[in-house]
């Protein structure tokens, strides 16, 4: 009996610490599970949340999600005088590494509208962020079609970078698949037992401590490196020092999805890919509208300013503040051309 009482007190004390950590981690925005699994669409950001993102190898970002679970303001069609642009892409669009006000969408919107107002043109341009981590082309196309049904934006600005053509597996999300040359919707994630259980215990999915456990689990493959530090010798078989291969050409599936995107005349491509892939993409895009940001980014890099370099952790990653400003300038020019001259 005494032993049971002792175990009980021990567990209560332990639980008290867990509760304390829960409040501490979430209140201070140190670790927050910002993604949830939506029963219809799969993985999405949690709606109406101030998300802080503290990256060890990049920046510190703060952004609020809207009622639909996307960063920035809710989609609104402001009528004929307003041009709505839905920006779709992976983490480079979500831009969690900087404060929302400093990302290229906010900057482009501000710059474009300031110039329009200065020129006395009664039009405004609104950008809506539909960026999401690891968004491969098949998920991107599905998301774009879904948004088109729901919101009817005037334009889609779609970011294509090398990451768009990476294969992403184990995602609980609705997407397109190519089945015998036919593009079909794949919502099989809904049948997964994990998703069913996830929605039953949704309250726990908001827990920062459980999220911490999840992150610990994802770091387990590196356990020996973490434990043994300088004494750790990576095994040759695992090829841990190998750089990930850069996509320089597209397979038929990816080509098909890109071709599908070009069928929508409201799509403007935002290209940030290596020259070889760029050439291939341009041959598919053909007469579609595009903004190629790669030359400006490379020129900046040649001048000694790396738009992907983060000084504080001394690492290369997503766009830094200067990178966002540069892309904002490019997008502003294009949007002004569209508004002023109807030129794409």
């Amino acid at each position: 009996m005494k032993t049971l009482k002792s175990i009980g007190i021990f567990l209560v004390a332990f639980a008290l610490v867990v509760v304390f950590f829960e409040f501490f981690l979430s209140l201070c925005g140190i670790l927050q599970p910002i993604v949830r699994i939506d029963p219809t669409n799969g993985e999405r950001y949690r709606p109406n949340l101030t998300c802080s993102s503290l990256f060890v190898s990049e920046g510190f970002g703060l952004a609020k999600t809207n009622s639909a679970g996307w960063f920035g303001h809710d989609f609104k069609d402001l009528g004929t005088d307003d041009i709505s642009v839905a920006v779709v892409g992976n983490s480079f669009v979500a831009s969690r590494q900087v404060f929302y006000r400093n990302n290229f969408l906010s900057l482009s919107e501000k710059k474009t509208n300031n110039i329009l107002a200065y020129k006395g043109i009664p039009k405004t341009v609104s950008f809506f962020n539909f960026g999401k981590e690891d968004l491969p082309i098949n998920e991107l196309l599905y998301l774009k079609d879904d948004l088109n049904k729901l919101n009817h934006p005037d334009y889609f600005l779609i970011l294509l970078n090398e990451g768009t053509f990476n294969v992403v597996t184990h995602r609980y999300v609705a997407k397109y698949v190519l089945d015998s040359g036919v593009i079909k919707v794949d919502s099989s994630f809904k049948k997964s037992s994990f998703v069913k259980n996830y929605n039953k215990f949704e309250v726990f999915t908001k827990s920062s401590v459980l999220f911490l456990m999840h992150r610990v689990k994802s770091h387990l493959p590196n356990i020996w490196e973490i434990f043994f530090d300088k004494f750790y010798i990576p095994s040759k078989e695992t090829g841990e020092d190998d750089e990930p291969a850069i996509t320089t050409s597209l397979d038929d599936t990816n080509k098909r999805f890109v071709t599908e995107l070009t069928k929508d005349k409201h799509v403007i491509f935002l290209l940030n890919v290596n020259p070889a892939l760029n050439k291939e993409l341009l041959s598919i895009i053909g007469q579609s509208y595009y903004i190629n940001i790669q030359p400006s980014l490379l020129a900046m890099k040649k001048r000694g300013i790396d738009p992907n370099y983060w000084e504080i952790p001394d690492k290369v990653g997503h766009f830094n503040l200067i990178g966002h400003q540069l892309i904002a300038d490019e997008i502003t020019q294009k949007m002004l051309a569209i508004v002023l001259h109807g030129d794409h």
């Binding site: 209560v12 004390a13 610490v17 409040f23 060890v56 510190f60 530090d229």
Partner: protein, 474 residues
Amino acid sequence: MIFNSFIFFIFLGIVLPIFYLLPSKLSKNSFLLVISYIFYGYWDWRFCLLLTFTTVIDYFIGKQLYKTTDEKKRKVFLTVSLVINLAILGFFKYFNFFVESFQDICAVFGTSVDYLHLNIILPVGLSFYIFHNISYIMDIYRRKIEPTNDFIDFALFVVFFPQLVAGPIGRAAVLLPQLQKKLSPTKEQIKGGIVLIVSGLFRKVMIGDTSGRFVDHIFGHLEAYKSFEIICGLMLFTVQIYADFSGYTHIARGTAKLFGVELMKNFEQPYLARNIGEFWNRWHISLSTWLRDYLYIPLGGNKKGKGRTYVNLMITMILGGLWHGASWNFVVYGALHGVYLSIHRMFFNHDKVKPKKIERVTFPVILSIIFTFMLVTFSRIFFRSTSWHTTRIFFSKIFNWESSEYNIWFLTTTLTYLIIIYTLDILEYYTGRHTYLLDIKSKPLRYGLLSGVFLLTVFFMFQTKTTPFLYFKF
């Protein structure tokens, strides 16, 4: 090797059982000496050469200084030791700073001096062990202590790994007698050591490192942040530096206890200080008492009139500021504290400087604590800014006020950190010890709390990059 890394705990897990099994004082001290060098050499084995050089020099000078009765010779020995120690410190830490400052002055007068910049690597903990050695020599010179004739004991006094890289700056009078006996930790020391290590790890990893990540980004790109965000960044830095350094000291003291060694306390709830004098009696105690004993008092202290006292305070604090790093920002930081202390001495009863327990928490007491905290926080601008440029941006951002859309978020985060750090300090203050968890009578409750904090902190460490302690670079 840093305390908040897994390799350190593996190291501790290997060396502790061996240490406990060793039979004699000689074997224990020799073993501790070897593992201290391994611990230090883990950064860069070349650092050990400099450490050995200063150890050997000061060991022999210490002996000669004590033997000689001729005052002239004693002064020569003292001077030789001071010159060697300060020259090493000056070269590794301040060479480029003084050369660049000289070049800047020449540029003001229109003279260009050829650019001279050496790529000098600052050995970890240099300022700490140099001050450690100076105190040993000075105490022998003042005949406060006798030198040890056992080289191993002396070498261990210098390199004892828990305190080697960031203090506390130990005194020979306290540490040497412990090392001259066979080290065997008591049960109480082991319990206290474990509590200190767990609480130190929590302070460092959960409070210091997490707040530090916000601070680093804010101070790294001040131009991207709004006024209120920057102010919160400064407050968070005030939390970070304390959590980081006190966390380190807790782990250092806890580790030393596991080997049966008692190190001095370096912090006594500094942010509960009611005036700036009291703050310096509670903050980085080993440095402030070192500066008092080996700089302020030799300069004349407060015995040569009011004016001279203020001058002595200013010199002590400016040099204390410069001890932190080779930058004019640290000079301003030290000067600002010199001004604070002088004003405090000018207008208030000096007796108030001495720490007294807060008997009753009244409104004036709370106000004085907040005011002192604000003064310290303001001085941290110069401590954290890496250059004049950053300092200028900081002030221009404050004077050209911009509101932020994230005010609530920043306020909540900053307040949460402040509440946590103050709660820990209040617990220490009223229990009178850093190991207050041992006061909990129920063992299961105590172990539940300890293991919870330890496990979750370790989990957090596991999924993030190890961050070095701030004071390692000093």
